[in-house]
């Protein structure tokens, strides 16, 4: 689509198309990520939202070739436009253990995980763990790396960094550990940060601190962020664009305002209605989505949301395509996977 005004986000950093990540199990093949396509521009924040099992975390891990065994990327492209080179790299084709992947991982694309307790090594000091990434990716000696680690700890707002650098993870609170994770992820100035539920394990006031910190650092360092979460409040606060996932597929994507003020997919609509919103006490019963997320091995025929959908039609026995919704949005990038918004005849 030709968009008249160019936002500063037009240059793509990473383009995912048709990504399919599968897990062979004894009972059959689970398509954890199925035909997922979206792109992330430089400096942009893309929120990926969905319930447990929708494939949002596996999408993030696929982008770093970190899919746990026996899972593998079966199809699709993950085009990564590296700094300084014109031709993009297809991460989906790069071997997980190759030198190239190691260079990208942690250096150009970094990730922070949900559990700051389990993602730090308890037997090394936090300074050691931050310095490790610096020594690995940059030609510096240990002393310089240690100084850089102190600098990073100061930058993520931890008081007395010169002392904290020599402490072990168990000596820090949950919020501080997540700050250390952020320091570790950002020490090599990546162009993309994947944040997988970065604040889910934290209290609300600490969550506000950590999200604020991530926003400040993004403004300062200009990296793009892919924010994976189930919390729609965090998405509304932080994301520029939103990708809604259900059962391994993208069901809707658009700008944050499109998704929150003009949701088109019945799942997105149901999700937004079913959360209690602070300050809106009036309605006594929450409009809930009936049923539960289908099991990945026994997905319903056609649209996977069909059995729970209030708008189910005969067409829903076939899987609709993710299609543009022309004329229904100001921004023109709003797409949805639903027969309600797809031209039936056009599909033949």
């Amino acid at each position: 689509m030709a968009s008249a005004e160019k936002t500063p986000y037009e240059k793509p950093l990473l383009e995912i198309s048709g990504l399919k990540t599968v897990f062979p199990t004894d009972d059959g093949i689970v398509n954890a990520v199925n035909d997922v396509s979206f792109s992330i521009a430089r400096g942009q924040t893309v929120g990926v939202v969905g319930e447990s099992g929708c494939g949002k975390s596996i999408t993030g891990l696929s982008m770093l070739q970190l899919v746990p065994s026996p899972g593998r990327i079966e199809a699709g492209e993950i085009l990564f436009h590296r700094n300084g080179t014109d031709a993009p790299i297809d991460i989906a084709q790069v071997s997980p253990k190759s030198e190239l992947m190691r260079q990208i991982r942690g250096n150009e694309i970094a990730i922070i995980f949900q559990e700051p307790m389990t993602s730090l090594n308890p037997v090394y000091t936090v300074g050691n763990q931050i310095a490790e990434a610096i020594v690995l990716h940059e030609q510096v000696d240990k002393k310089t790396a240690h100084e850089r680690a102190i600098e990073m700890i100061a930058r993520v707002g931890i008081p007395a960094p010169a002392q904290r650098v020599d402490e072990y993870p168990h000596q820090l609170s949950g919020g501080m550990r997540q700050r250390i994770m952020i320091a570790m992820a950002l020490c090599c100035s990546p162009s993309l940060l994947i944040a997988d539920e970065p604040t889910t394990a934290l209290d609300v006031t600490i969550q506000a601190q950590v999200l604020g910190l991530m926003q400040e650092l993004q403004a300062e360092m200009g990296m793009a962020i892919m924010l994976i979460t189930h919390d729609l409040g965090v998405i509304a606060d932080f994301a520029d664009e939103v990708v809604v996932m259900y059962s391994g597929r993208v069901v809707e994507k658009g700008t944050v305002d499109d998704i929150f003020y003009n949701p088109l997919h019945p799942y997105t609509q149901g999700l937004l209605k079913s959360i209690p919103v602070l300050g809106r006490t009036a309605e006594k019963t929450l409009p809930s989505i009936p049923g539960t997320v289908p099991h990945p091995l026994t997905l319903p025929v056609g649209c996977s949301f069909g059995p729970r959908c209030p708008e189910r039609m005969p067409e829903c026995d076939q899987m609709p395509e993710l299609a543009e919704t022309d004329g229904k949005t100001e921004n023109g990038r709003h797409t949805v996977r639903c027969w309600l918004h797809t031209d039936l005849e056009g599909k033949g």
């Binding site: 006031t205 601190q209 999700l271 937004l272 300050g279 006490t281 019963t285 539960t292």
Partner: protein
């Protein structure tokens, strides 16, 4: 409305023991003198961050852990549950039940659903034989499960369905009060709404009272009639849900509300964000004066020296803050 439960000056101090003689070197004051009451048919929300003592308070009420001091006056008989021996406590146990957070850990994987839901009735000998089976089916149906589910095991159910089983078990002895400790925080968003609706529906149907313990302010606001905000073992503010969120009287409540991101991008961009500095202090070594003063942006000298008492500032509104009369705090 009649009073069902009155909690006076509840304290729970866990000793910190060190050395080979396990000498007590200090106390973690998990719950440090809280007062509240629950009316019949009411839901009282207990909200706060991790370590504020909300779960410990709930467990003390059921005498799952012995309280250090305090009294709980329960029911028309006005019996002080804190003073009863375990044997005397037994008849009251069936009148207060609990729903747990983790529906995976709180159901025995080796028992069928029918046995799980029927167990409280077998132990208390309230029903037997086919009457018990009928009652189990009735309970399962009232929480939205089916009669054939009695023979299945917990692993065959999803998280939301397991939580329904836990609720059916809590209802088995027709309790008057249910303490629900984070009953929806392990569930997905779409399932969370189903369980919240179910809890509200059951409250009407069986005239239940709830103490609803949670960290999620929007969930607590939705289900509660009144809300108590806890910080470091003390109650910072108690008030009816709407007043609390529209015009908070304690700076901590204001900061908590401000920290919750609203699922409304335009409103969220317009809001003023109050960011609390630092972490919750260590409960074994709390600050002097008002426990909140090191993080409070309105703190003055008096806050560092004197601990504010919980006092009534308006009808049904109690606040523990020296400056609650002069502060103009913002709500949602």
């Amino acid at each position: 409305m009649t009073k069902l439960l009155e909690v006076n000056d509840l304290r729970k101090h866990f000793p910190i023991q060190k050395g080979i003689f396990q000498r007590t070197v200090g106390y973690v004051k998990a719950v440090d003198g809280i007062n509240f009451d629950v009316q019949r048919g009411e839901t009282l929300g207990l909200v706060g961050e991790s370590g504020c003592g909300k779960t410990t308070a709930g467990r003390c009420l059921l005498r799952l852990i012995p309280p250090t001091s305090g009294s709980f006056i329960f029911g028309e008989e006005e019996v002080d549950l804190a003073k009863l021996t375990p044997h005397e406590m037994r008849p009251f146990r069936r009148r207060i039940q609990m729903i747990f957070q983790d529906p995976h850990a709180s159901l025995n994987p080796r028992m069928t659903v029918g046995d799980i839901v029927g167990e409280p009735m077998r132990v208390n000998r309230t029903e037997q034989g086919s009457a018990l089976q009928d009652r189990v089916v009735e309970l399962l149906e009232s929480v939205g499960l089916q009669s054939q589910d009695t023979r299945r095991y917990p692993h065959a159910f999803s998280g939301g369905q397991r939580q329904r089983i836990g609720i059916a078990r809590a209802l088995a002895l027709q309790p008057e009060l249910i303490v629900a400790d984070e009953p929806v925080s392990a569930l997905d968003v779409s399932v969370q709404a189903q369980i919240l609706n179910l809890l509200a529906e059951l409250r009407e149907k069986f005239q239940l009272s709830y103490i609803f313990i949670a960290h999620d302010l929007s969930v607590v606001e939705h289900i509660s009639d009144r809300v108590a905000v806890m910080y470091l073992g003390k109650i910072a503010e108690i008030s009816d849900a709407e007043t609390l969120y529209q015009s908070p009287k304690h700076p901590y409540t204001e900061a908590l509300i401000s920290a919750v991101p609203l699922p409304d991008p335009k409103a969220q961009r317009k809001r003023e964000h109050i960011r609390l500095e630092g972490d919750v202090p260590d409960p074994s070594n709390p600050p002097t004066g008002c426990y909140f003063h090191p993080r409070c942006r309105y703190a003055t000298d008096i806050c560092k020296q004197e601990t504010p008492e919980l006092r009534q500032v308006a009808q049904g509104v109690q606040v523990a803050c020296h400056h609650s009369d002069t502060l103009e705090l913002q709500g949602v």
